[in-house]
Structures are given as C-alpha cells and as structure tokens.
C-alpha cells in the first residue's frame, strides 16, 4: 500500500539574528492510508515545525533547506503558495492547538465555515450554509443554527475546537495534521475531542498525523508513534511496542517521567519517586533544627470554613450590567500537618482563587481561614508577618513568578530580611546559597537574572525562595504544568525530597489527576467554585466517588494500559 505522506530527510532552519537554528534535521516519516501516526516530543523538539513544514506554513524566518515531502506521490517541498493551495484543505487539513486564536474573531462561524465550503466544494452560498450546518451536527454541536450565527468569542474552547475539526474535515482531506489539538482544553473535553477526531477520520479513511507531548494521548489514539528529540526522530514503531518496551533510553526516560494513575500503589513500601528523573538532591540543612515535640498530626495546620469569594464585573462605564461572579462558594476543608493535600479541578473551578484566599492574598467575601489555630483574616501586623513566613507559595509559571529585573539571589534574600528570618545581610546571603543548593542549583547562580535560567531551573529558584523561609505550609499552585515531562518529574521528585527533608506540609493544586494521585495523600475535587468531595488518595478508585470525580478519572488517558497487557508476553518485544 502506498503511503499518503512520505517525508524524507526533512531539514528546517530558523534564521535568527546572528544565528541559524537547525530546528529539524533529517526527519523521515511515512503515514499510510487511514493510519494514525503520533509524533511525540518535548517542547523545542521540532515536532510542530515538522508539521508546519509539510503544509508550507513555516514562520517567515524559517525554511525547508533539504529533504522531500511527498503527498500522494506529489512533491510538496519547494512549491510556491499558489501551487500548495491546491493541496491545502482539499488534500491535507490541519487542526491547531489553540482554538481560541485560530478562528477569525471578526466573522461568524457560519461565514467562516461557509467560505471554506464554497472554496473547496464549489457550492453556492445557501448550499454552503447547509453543508456547514450538517458538519456542525457531525462534530457533535447540538444547536448548529445558533453556533452558525455566533462569533468565536461566544463559544467555549471545546466548542471552538469542534468547529475547527468541522472546518478541517469539511473539504474531505486525505490527511489530517492535528498539532496538539487538545493541549489547550480541559481533561474531560480532551477525550471527547480526540474520540470525535478519530471517529471522523475512521469513517472517511483519513490518515492522521497527530502532534503531541502527551504519552496518554499517544497511547489512546495512535497505531504508530515517532519520538522526536532535538530535531531528529530517535525512535519510530508500533505504539504498543514502543510504550511497552522502548528501545531508546530517551523514550524510556520520557515514559518513566509520566506519573501513571494508580502507580503510587506499585511503589508501596519504598520512597515514592518518579523513575524518569534522578531523585538525589543535595542533603543540606537550612539551619539547625531544634527537635521540638511535634504537635499531634491530626491537628489541622490550615482550616477553611465556608470560604466564599465573589468578584464583581461590569457596572458603570463598561456598558455591561453590574453583576457578581462567585469564584469560590462555601468551601470547607482542613489540611493536616505533614500531609500533601491535593486540590484538583478544571480551569475556572476556583482552585487557584482558593489558594490565594487561604494565604490572605485576596480578601474573603465570607467564611474564615485559620492557620495553625490563628484566624488569618483578623491577624495583626505581626501576625500577618508570621503568617507570611510560615505560609509560602510556589506559582505555576516561574517565568512570571520571578521578577525579571532582580537577581535571583536578591529575590530570595530580601524576604528573609523583611520577614526577620535573617538578621543581617550576611546571614541572608548564607541562607540564600544554602537554599539554592538544597534545590539542586549552584550557589554561584545567585547573582544571575531569571532569564539566564531554563524553565526547570527557574521553578527550582521559585521553590528555593519559598523554602528559604523555612515555612510550615507550602501552597504549590500547578508547580509543574508549564514544564516538559522530564523536567516535571525532576521537580516532583525534588518536592517530595524537600517535604521529607524539611518537614513540610503541601497544598498541591493541579488539573492532572495522575500527578495529583501520585503526589498527594488526600485529594479534594473542585468544580465550579465548590468543593465536591475530599477523600484519601488510596480511595480514588472507590465506587462511592462523586460523579465529578469519576468524570475526571474517566478522562485520564493511561500510558501503560497497553503496556501491562503487552508485558504478559515479554518474548515478543525483545529483538
């Protein structure tokens, strides 16, 4: 059978001021008819550039320098825009990552779908509208007539991605390139969109090239997988085989870095760490710890009672009616000393707002927060200072959580002086250096600016800044969701190490159930501002979980579900 798409020795260079970056260096790919090939890799591996290169959609400063791209026997490399337009849409359709920006904000959905239908199907305007309506129906949109009249901003992210699928599918392409189609979406929507995409492709016999960073997506969707790293493909083969027994060490590291739902039980009895990253961190004490008699473990260190937060929007001058939005609604929960409490929810569920309310970074609308027995809301100046020292945050995106204009050493040292942790400049510097070493960074990095660090290193600095104060409670607000999987594994292991080392309590906020399940002792599920339920992590699979929790659990795309089955016949994998 002849391949729909054959990529041979593809090279793509980026021309940057003063440098040439070889983003793709010699990629070979083949996608057969009706096949789903996943192209997986970390950020910067060149996977999206490869996809864009196939359709000639590279940014202005990039170009294909060598290699061939054959689509159904026609060479696409080197074709001009006009010639490529013959194949775009009609032959090869493309779906992009961000459905929010990928539709023109100034035209209705009906106009955008209709234009595409008229271009590719050569039908008159009213017929194009019929085709658009039919396609909206096919992609599972319940009220196509309303959506046809809507502008993109009036639809949810999931709806917009359905529209994108309709837009790409409408012209009946032989090959569909989907570039991280579900990365910007919530987990529960992700599975629906992927199943929709695969279903439509299956019906029409369309081949799919799926670009992703998520091995769960790879496992769920693809028949074959290619693993990309630094512009080259390190391994390509049947998905089951590669996920079950990766032959390349890089692939193995990537797969081992992904926490698997239920994996915490497999490691019972030993320290819980992810295999993909080295666990060893420098064992340095920040300061001599007086082994004070620890308070009873069941006494909550943080207790929220009926916490509510409302934001007001609109009002005079905005042209909108004034209204209030309830971001957090009557949440009560307690975090015990020494545990890792996980808070999970989809975007907009109020989990980050709750985190900010707990540490008095936002004023409460109603309810109360107690930290170690003291009411946070009524704390005086000294009380608040004490709270700030003992109650610390690590934020999601260290790129913005660190001040770009201040040396990281100063960013760690200043709060030490401000909050009385260090009595003098010298002591503050000393503590800063130790904190940096504790998170696995060189103390010499103290005089550098945040932009001189990689993403993972920056998150380490963020953690160092928090732990240098030797807090009791650390709120980790999606501390790894901006990171690649291998970096994420290293940070998770570091956090687990530090917790043991420094006797910390964590409130870990996330949207990835597998990570929350792996890291946390107890889990709370948030949905639309309310806390649905809390339960010990071990009881995640219990039958009396709430529907919201079950929905999250069902949305998880396990990596190794196939792997375990395959492991039953190990002899077939060895080569």
């Amino acid at each position: 059978m002849t391949a729909v798409l054959t990529v041979d020795g593809l090279h793509v260079d980026f021309q940057l001021p003063g440098a040439v970056v070889h983003a793709v260096r010699g990629v070979d790919l083949e996608v057969g008819p009706g096949e789903v090939l996943a192209l997986v890799g970390e950020s910067g591996s060149g996977k999206s550039v490869t996809a864009a290169g196939i359709l000639g959609l590279l940014p202005r400063n990039a170009r294909v320098t060598a290699g061939s791209i054959r689509f159904q026997g026609t060479e696409l490399a080197g074709l001009g825009e006009r010639q490529l337009n013959v194949f775009r849409g009609a032959g090869i359709g493309m779906i992009f990552q961000d459905p929010v920006t990928s539709l023109d904000p100034s035209f209705t959905i009906g106009s955008q779908l209709g234009d595409t239908a008229r271009l590719h199907l050569r039908v008159p305007r009213n017929e194009a509208l019929e085709v658009s309506r039919a396609w909206l129906d096919r992609v599972g949109i319940g009220d196509p007539d309303r959506v046809l009249r809507s502008y993109p901003h009036e639809l949810s992210g999931g709806m917009r991605q359905r529209v994108m699928i309709a837009l790409a599918g409408l012209s009946g392409p032989k090959l569909l390139i989907a570039d991280e189609p579900t990365t910007a979406l919530d987990a529960t929507v992700q599975k629906q969109i992927l199943d929709l995409l695969l279903g439509l492709a299956g019906e029409a016999g369309t081949a799919v090239l799926l670009i992703t960073h998520d091995f769960g997506v790879v496992s769920h969707t693809s028949t074959r997988v290619a693993v990309m790293r630094e512009g080259t493909i390190v391994e390509i083969g049947q998905t089951a085989q590669i996920l079950g027994a990766p032959s390349h060490p890089y692939t193995r590291t990537l797969i081992d870095s992904v926490p698997e739902i239920g994996q915490r039980h497999l490691q019972d009895g030993q320290q819980r760490r992810l295999l993909g990253a080295p666990a060893a961190t420098a064992r340095v004490r920040l300061s001599e710890r007086i082994e004070a008699p620890r308070p009873p473990a069941d006494r909550p260190i943080l207790e929220l009672r009926e916490v509510t937060k409302e934001f007001s929007i609109g009002g005079l001058g905005t042209g909108r009616h004034r209204s209030t939005v309830r971001a957090v609604s009557e949440v009560s929960l307690s975090v015990r000393r020494g545990e890792i409490f996980g808070l999970i929810g989809e975007s907009g569920s109020g989990k980050s707002t709750l985190a900010r309310l707990s540490g008095a970074l936002l004023p409460l609308t109603a309810g109360s927060v107690t930290f170690d027995g003291a009411d946070v809301g009524t704390a005086g100046k000294q009380g608040l200072r004490d709270l700030r020292r003992r109650f610390q945050y690590v934020f999601q995106d260290a790129a913005t959580a660190l001040n770009p204009r201040i040396r990281v050493g100063d960013q760690i040292a200043r709060p030490l002086l401000r909050l009385g942790k260090a009595t003098g400049r010298r002591e503050a510097i000393e503590l800063t250096h130790r904190a940096l070493e504790l998170v696995g960074l060189n103390a010499g990095y103290a005089d550098r600016y945040p932009r001189e660090f990689s993403g993972g290193q920056r998150q380490r600095v963020g953690i160092a800044r928090a732990i240098a104060l030797e807090p009791d409670l650390l709120i980790l607000d999606e501390p790894t969701s901006a990171l690649d999987v291998s970096t994420q594994a290293a940070i998770i292991n570091l956090l687990l190490d530090l917790k043991d080392e420094l006797d910390l309590t964590y409130l870990f906020i996330g949207h990835n159930l597998a990570i929350i399940d792996f890291v946390c002792d107890r889990i709370g599920v948030m949905r639309q501002g309310s806390l649905v339920e809390t339960f010990p992590a071990d009881e995640l699979f219990s039958t009396d979980r709430q529907p919201a929790t079950r929905a999250l659990l069902d949305a998880v795309l396990p990596v190794r579900s196939r792997r375990r089955e395959d492991l039953l016949a190990p002899s077939t994998i060895k080569d």
Binding site: L361, Y393, Q396, P404, R405, I406, R414, P415, G444
Partner: protein, 290 residues
Amino acid sequence: MTTTTAEVRTGAPPRLRRSAAARFVRNREALLGLVVLIVVIGISVLAPWLAPYDPNAGDPENVLAPVGSAGHLLGTDDQGRDVLSRLLHGGRGALVVSIVSVAVALLIGTVLGLYGAFAGRRTSGVLMRIIDLMFAFPVILVALSLAAVIHPGPWVLIGTVVFGAVPYVTRIVFAEARIEREKDYVEAARSLGASEATILRTEVLPNLLSSVVIYGTSLVGVNIVFTASLSALGLGIQPPSPDWGRMISEGAKVLVTGNPGVATFPAIAILLVALAFNWLGDGLRDVLNP
C-alpha cells in the same frame, strides 16, 4: 570581585550574555545618535565661544549674503545676521525646553500611570478616560490658550509639551504596569510579606523604567520638532533670540527669492537632532529590553 571568585569556587558555568554597554556599542544607530547628541549639546553649550559673530548683530551692508560668501560661511539673513552664528545658538532654547518638559512629563506620567494601574476599577477608569481625551486633544489649543493667558514665550512651550507628553507617558506606564500587575511575581512578593508600596517601588517600577527611558528619549526628539513649529508660529521663543524654529519662519520670506539657507539649515539641524534622539531611543530599547 567576590562574585567571580564565588563562581570559580563553585564552578558555575560561564555566563553567555554580553554586558549592556557592549550591546549598546554594537548598535550602530544608537551610537550614532549618542555621538550626534553629544556634539549638538557641546556646540550649544559652547556657542558663545564658537560662533564667529554675535547672533543678533545685523550688518545692513551685507544682507542676504549667499552660502559660502567670505566671512559668512552659511550666508546672512534679511537683516544681515550671520546664519552660522544663529544656527550655533539656535538649539539652546529648544533643547532645554524639550528636555526639561519631557522630564517633568515623565515624572507626572509615571506617577499617574502607576496610580491608574494599581488603583480601583472606578478611579482607574475615570483617570484613563481623561488621559485618553488628553491624548487625542489638539495640543495646539493648549498652546494657543496658554499664549493667551501668559504671553508667548518658553513657558508656553513647556506647558504645551508637558500637556502633550503626559498622556503618552501615562498610557505607556499604565499599559505596562497593568501587564506587570497580573504577573505572578507581584503576587509572590505579596506572599513574601512585601507591602503594596514596596511592591510598586522595588518590584514593578524597575520593570517599567526601561520603557519610560526609551519613550522619554523619543519624546524629546518629537518635541524638539514640535516646539520649533510653535516658535515658528510665534507662540514660543521670541525674537530677537536666535532659535531654529523662529529662523524657519524668518527664512520663509526669503526662501525663494533670497537665501534659502536661512530656513533650510535650522530645519536640517532640527531633523538631525530629532533623528538622533530617535536612534538613541531605539538603541536603548535593544539594550534595556534584551
């Protein structure tokens, strides 16, 4: 230096970044702009010693001497005054007025912009609405009103430039401060015990200063051109003081029939100084915002 020894001791990898000064020197436009400005400011300061004649001393015998005539390199104007001497003196008022008033505008604009970005929704809305109106307001009306209230002169120029530049600076500071305000480092600083005043002063302001400096530099250039036109119109620096703008309107009468240099040389000087400020601003952008 202690930092270098610490790096050697702990074996930190070498830093790859070039220093700001090195990047500035590599930027040819910025360097050119800086050199031009140093020369122009030097000439303006030293004009009394450099100029061959008294800029206001007319020579009735030698009216409208052409460019290159003996003793008058750039010729003379319709009153027989030496164009070169007037040119050397003519930048003083414009430079001082522009730099001083832009500095004042930067100060006011930064305070207003920061206040707008961190104040409550209502206050900020009203403030920025006013600023938007000021932004689009015809500054010439301000100049005319000021000239009506106080007599035409440098104070009219200063008032007009401040009025015109404040909304620019405020909008820029406001827009950038709004972006910075949403960044997690502000929240982080709050969680690390910093007061709101400390956050503004030590966390947010350092992130805005480079933009303020860059826009300030370009604004000086823009306003040198603008004040020259106001002076040409008779609202600014008054005769007989030598001034580039004034020279253009005086030279207008003799542009075609007499010495075209009277109006053209000051125009070129204004263009050059304004471009130099622009180049410097662009260069600073590359250096300060890597």
